[in-house]
Symmetry: C4
Subunit: 103 residues, 4 copies
């Protein structure tokens, strides 16, 4: 449990992204093989969509593909929000400690 707290939040987030992107990429590759000809294209789409860049070079066209995209977008947004919130807390805590050190 101590080790868990020691792993920085940014690394944990990166690890989650490195697992989630291939996962969503593989699913869309299975669901819409005509739109996503290779697994790499699927993973690329998952990254571009989850980070809300949205180039539009690969876009799901079927209902199931769009539902997966909806889930990815909401997860991605939630993840980014959580990351910002977590980072804010870390910054605030550090500021507090450095302030207490000055007093």
């Amino acid at each position: 449990r101590l080790l868990y707290y020691r792993i920085p939040n940014i690394l944990k987030l990166l690890l989650l992204v490195l697992i989630a992107m291939p996962f969503f990429g593989y699913l869309i590759y299975l669901i819409e093989p005509e739109t996503f000809p290779s697994l790499t294209d699927g993973i690329w789409w998952a990254l571009v969509t989850g980070a809300t860049v949205g180039y539009g070079d690969y876009v799901p066209a079927t209902l199931i593909g769009r539902l997966l995209a909806a889930f990815l977008i909401l997860s991605g947004g939630g993840l980014i929000a959580f990351y910002i919130a977590s980072l804010s807390t870390t910054v605030i805590k550090r500021e507090k400690k450095s302030q207490e050190g000055k007093l």
Copy 2:
């Protein structure tokens, strides 16, 4: 009222999204039926726009359609901002509690 506080913020947000996306999707489908041939296309556009992904596969072309998009973008942005702010507060509160527990 107690029950209201118990429903996690994430669920409330998801519920709001699940209501707002079909609402905006239906409106754009009524306003620009040539650009959005089906209701599903409208809902898909509302999600992609509200989350600021913006693939560009469906884009309103009329003035009324663009005004609706402006309203959706500003609402979506506000919602995301509110979500991050709310999440930050929750994280900070939990950190505080766990810190107090240690002392």
Copy 3:
């Protein structure tokens, strides 16, 4: 001064957006009239770009147009960040007050 504090932050932000979007829209319309045939197209582009939706239906192609876009993107991002930060503070303050009321 008191009146200034009473105007909610969201309204102030909306007012700023309603001034900034036509401003940037007019500038791009002057700089690249071939890409942006009407003032409405310019304002639409400014909203879509400033909110980081980025449909890609209108994209500046000249160096000056891209420099304006860079300025708009950085301003827009800064504005959104400021809005989230401001909202976070408001939420945290309210939580604090309601907590103090309970004690």
Copy 4:
């Protein structure tokens, strides 16, 4: 060190962006010269991608280009998150000081 603290965070962020965008822009220009015919196109793509606007006018197509994009997206997102967190802290500190001044 004192001077370092005096430079506002927004300026430091802008400086970082002004260094990072040409850096990523130059790399993609080297990696995919067919997709990015000029250095300016590369820098433009880096800005549009790092800020998650994602017009889709320039999109890397090779695996190495996409890996660079992945790195840029994750860095850009992290930078924006850090900026919001840093700004939140500044706003909260100012609020605290003005509150203490009132008491």
